[in-house]
C-alpha cells in the first residue's frame, strides 16, 4: 500500500532494510542463542545514521518525527525484534529529554544518542510496580545542590549497555501521583550500578537489566521537567513511544509473513505446493490483511503525533494494542504454516513467535492499553455531553 512517505522516509526504509538484510539477518540466530548484546549490529545501525531519524537536526538528528522512527524500527524488526529494540529503547530514553529537557540537557545528551555513539534507556518499572507505575517506591531526597537516589528499577531495556538513563523516583510521597520526579542519570555515577541480567523467552539480543541506586548522588541540573512532574513525563513519553512498540510488532509480523510465503510456495505435500491449499491461502490472506491494518493505524498514529496535535494517547495505545496482538497471531500462524519445521530452531519463525510476545506486555500491557483507550472514550463522551 502506498503511504505517500517523504523522500527521506523512503530512504530510511531502504537503508534500514539493507542493514536488516546484510547486517542483522546473518547474526540474529547467534545472538538469540547466546543472549549477548549485539554490538556489531548497533555499529551497522549507527553507521547507517538510523539512530537519529526522529531527532531534530539542531541536536544532530535527521530532522524527522515519530513516523520516521516507526519506519526504521519496522524494517529492522523484520529481521530481528531483539536487535531493533536497542534503537527503539534508546528513543524511549531520549524522547523524554526532547519533550521536557532544558536546552542544556538537550545539547548535552541528545546529539550523542542521535549519532548512536551512546545508547539510552528509560526506567520506571520496579519489582512491586509494573502496570501500576504510581506504586513506585524508589526515592529521591533533596540534599543541597543534589538529589540522593535510592531504590531498584527492574527489567530495564538497554540496562548496562546504555550510557544515559531517564528514570522516575518519588520525591514527595505524600503528594501521591504529583510526588514523582524524573531524572537523567549517567552510567558511572557513583552509587548507580547494575544488578541482575534477566534470562528471557524472546528478544534475547536485547539487554534487560536491573538498575540499582544506593545513595546515588545526582546534581539538581539532572532533574528532568519540574519536581512532581515525573508521572507526566512518563505518560507523555509513552504516548510518543508506543507507536515504536507497534512498529517493532509490525516488523516482526511482516518478517514472519515474508518467511511463510516463501516456505508455503516451496514446501510440497500431497504432490503439490502447500500454498495451493485453500486452508493455507486463507491463513496467508488474513496475516497480510491484519498486518496492513496495523501498519495503517500505526502510521496514522505516528502522523497524528508528528502533526503537533496536543493529546493522542488513545490513537497511540490503539496502534500498540492492535499491532502487538496481530504480531502474536501472525507469528503463531507462521509456525503453523511451517509445520514441524516451524517448531525447530533451524528456522526463524519460532524465534519470531517468542519475540512477538513481549510487544503485548511492555510499555503497558495490552490490558492497560485497553484501559487507556476506554478511559479516553469515556472522557470524550463527557466532553461532548
Amino acid at each position: 500500500m502506498n503511504y505517500f512517505l517523504t523522500e527521506q522516509q523512503e530512504a530510511i526504509q531502504e537503508v534500514a532494510r539493507q542493514v536488516a538484510n546484510d547486517v542483522i539477518k546473518p547474526i540474529r540466530a547467534k545472538y538469540d542463542e547466546s543472549a549477548e548484546f549485539p554490538w556489531e549490529a548497533v555499529k551497522g545501525m549507527k553507521e547507517a545514521d538510523l539512530f537519529g531519524v526522529y531527532i531534530p537536526e539542531e541536536y544532530g538528528g535527521m530532522g524527522g518525527g515519530i513516523l520516521d522512527l516507526v519506519i526504521a524500527v519496522e524494517e529492522l524488526s523484520r529481521a530481528c525484534g531483539g536487535v531493533s529494540l536497542s534503537l527503539a529503547a534508546t528513543a524511549l530514553g531520549v524522547i523524554p529529554i526532547m519533550l521536557y529537557g532544558t536546552e542544556e540537557q538537550k545539547k548535552k545528551y541528545i546529539p550523542e544518542c542521535a549519532s548512536g555513539d551512546k545508547l539510552a534507556a528509560f526506567g520506571i518499572t520496579e519489582p512491586t510496580a509494573g502496570s501500576d507505575a504510581g506504586g513506585i517506591i524508589s526515592t529521591a531526597t533533596e540534599d543541597g545542590d543534589h538529589f540522593i537516589l535510592n531504590g531498584t528499577k527492574q527489567w530495564i531495556t538497554n540496562g548496562e549497555v546504555a550510557e544515559v538513563y531517564t528514570t522516575v523516583f518519588m520525591t514527595d510521597r505524600q503528594k501521591g501521583a504529583r510526588g514523582a520526579t524524573a531524572f537523567i542519570v549517567e552510567k558511572g555515577t557513583p552509587g548507580f550500578s547494575f544488578g541482575k541480567h534477566y534470562d528471557k523467552m524472546g528478544i534475547r539480543a536485547s539487554a534487560t537489566t536491573e538498575l540499582v541506586f544506593e545513595d546515588c548522588k545526582v546534581p539538581k541540573e539532572n532533574m528532568l521537567g519540574k519536581r512532581g512532574q515525573g508521572f507526566m513525563v512518563a505518560m507523555k513519553t509513552f504516548d510518543h513511544a508506543r507507536p515504536g512498540v507497534a512498529a517493532q510488532a509490525l516488523g516482526i509480523a511482516q518478517g514472519a509473513l515474508d518467511e511463510s510465503l516463501r516456505y508455503a510456495k516451496d514446501r510440497k505435500q500431497f504432490g503439490k505446493s502447500i500454498s495451493s491449499f485453500q486452508g493455507l491461502q486463507f491463513m496467508l490472506a488474513d496475516m497480510a490483511t491484519y498486518i496492513e491494518a496495523s501498519r495503517a493505524l500505526t502510521y496514522a498514529a505516528a502522523k497524528a503525533i508528528d502533526s503537533g496535535q496536543d493529546r493522542f494517547p488513545k490513537e497511540s495505545s490503539m496502534s500498540k494494542l492492535l499491532s502487538s496482538d496481530v504480531a502474536m497471531k501472525v507469528t503463531t500462524d507462521a509456525v503453523q504454516i511451517f509445520g514441524g519445521y516451524g517448531y525447530m530452531k533451524e528456522y526463524p519463525v519460532e524465534k519470531m513467535m517468542r519475540d512477538a510476545k513481549i510487544t503485548q506486555i511492555y510499555e503497558g500491557t495490552n490490558q492497560i492499553q485497553r484501559s487507556v483507550i476506554a478511559q479516553n472514550l469515556l472522557k470524550e463522551l463527557l466532553k461532548k455531553s
Binding site: I12, V15, Q18
Partner: protein, 260 residues
C-alpha cells in the same frame, strides 16, 4: 585532495541475450552499478576516512539513464558527479572510451588520484584503467589490494602479482585500480543517500571535452563481429535429501570426478 572515481553502468549479465544479428542485447536487462566499481568507491571512502577533507567525484561515461547508477555510487558518500554523455560515445571501443575519460580528467583538472574498479562485469576487458593512465601519461598502480599509506601528495599501495604483491609508491597524480581485497564496500548511510539525491550531476558532451570526429563508433579499432551463446557443457547436479546424506553424496561425486 581530489579523488575521481570512474564507474560504469552495466547490465545485470544474467539477463542479457544475443539477438538474431548476433549482437548482444541488454534491452531487457536490469542495469546496475558495476560491482567492481563499488570497491573503487569504497577505496575512495577509505582514503577520505583518513583525509576527511578529501573530495570524491564520481565520473561515468554513458547514456542519460546513468543517473540512477551515479546516485547509487554517490549514496555511499561522494561530493560531486560528472556524466559524460553524447550520441558519439555509444558503442566505443576501450581505446576511445579511455580517451573520452582522459579528456574529462584533464578538463576536471584538479584530480590527485583516479580510482577505477579493475574490470567491468559486462565486457570484462580490464583495459580501461591502464589505457586511461596511458592517455593521461600518468603513473598507474593496478590490481591494488591495499593502500598502505596516503598523504596529501603521494600514495603507497600493494599491487597484486601472481605470487604476492609489489609495494609501489607514487607521487600524485596517479591512477589506481582496485580489487575485492581492499575490503567489502560499506552500506549506504542515510546521510549519504539523502546527499546523493541533492548532488548536481554535471553533464559534459563531446564538444565540452574538446573532442571532434575522432570519437565515433565507426572509428573504433575493435568491432564486435558476432556473439555466440556458450552451450552449457556440463549439467549441474542437484542432491536431495537430509543434510548428512547430501554431504556424503556430494563428497562421493567430488571423489568420482577426481576433484578431491
Amino acid at each position: 585532495m581530489e579523488i575521481l572515481v570512474c564507474v560504469k553502468r552495466v547490465p545485470n549479465t544474467g539477463q542479457t541475450s544475443v539477438d538474431s544479428s548476433g549482437q548482444l542485447s541488454s534491452a531487457n536487462a536490469q542495469h546496475i552499478l558495476n560491482p567492481y566499481d563499488e570497491y573503487a568507491v569504497e577505496q575512495a571512502l577509505q582514503i577520505k576516512d583518513q583525509i576527511p577533507d578529501a573530495k570524491i567525484t564520481i565520473i561515468t561515461m554513458g547514456s542519460a539513464d546513468s543517473e540512477e547508477v551515479i546516485r547509487s555510487a554517490l549514496s555511499f558518500g561522494g561530493d560531486g558527479a560528472i556524466l559524460l554523455s553524447d550520441p558519439a560515445f555509444e558503442n566505443l571501443d576501450t581505446f576511445h572510451t579511455s580517451l573520452v575519460l582522459a579528456k574529462a580528467v584533464e578538463k576536471f583538472g584538479k584530480a590527485d588520484v583516479v580510482i577505477c574498479g579493475n574490470k567491468a562485469i559486462d565486457a570484462d576487458t580490464w583495459q580501461i584503467p591502464p589505457q586511461l593512465a596511458a592517455h593521461l601519461n600518468w603513473p598507474q598502480i593496478l590490481f591494488v589490494k591495499k593502500v598502505e599509506a596516503v598523504s596529501g601528495e603521494s600514495i603507497k599501495a600493494q599491487r597484486t602479482t601472481d605470487d604476492g604483491y609489489d609495494l609501489v609508491e607514487s607521487q600524485f597524480p596517479v591512477l589506481i585500480s582496485v580489487i575485492k581485497e581492499i575490503g567489502e564496500p560499506r552500506l549506504p548511510s542515510l546521510k549519504g543517500k539523502m546527499n546523493a539525491k541533492k548532488v548536481q550531476i554535471e553533464t559534459w558532451d563531446k564538444a565540452a571535452l574538446g573532442l571532434g570526429d575522432e570519437v565515433a563508433a565507426e572509428k573504433s579499432f575493435v568491432k564486435m563481429a558476432k556473439y555466440d551463446k556458450l552451450e552449457k557443457s556440463i549439467d549441474g547436479k542437484v542432491f536431495e535429501g537430509e543434510a548428512p546424506q547430501v554431504v556424503e553424496q556430494f563428497l562421493k561425486a567430488l571423489e568420482d570426478d577426481k576433484v578431491l
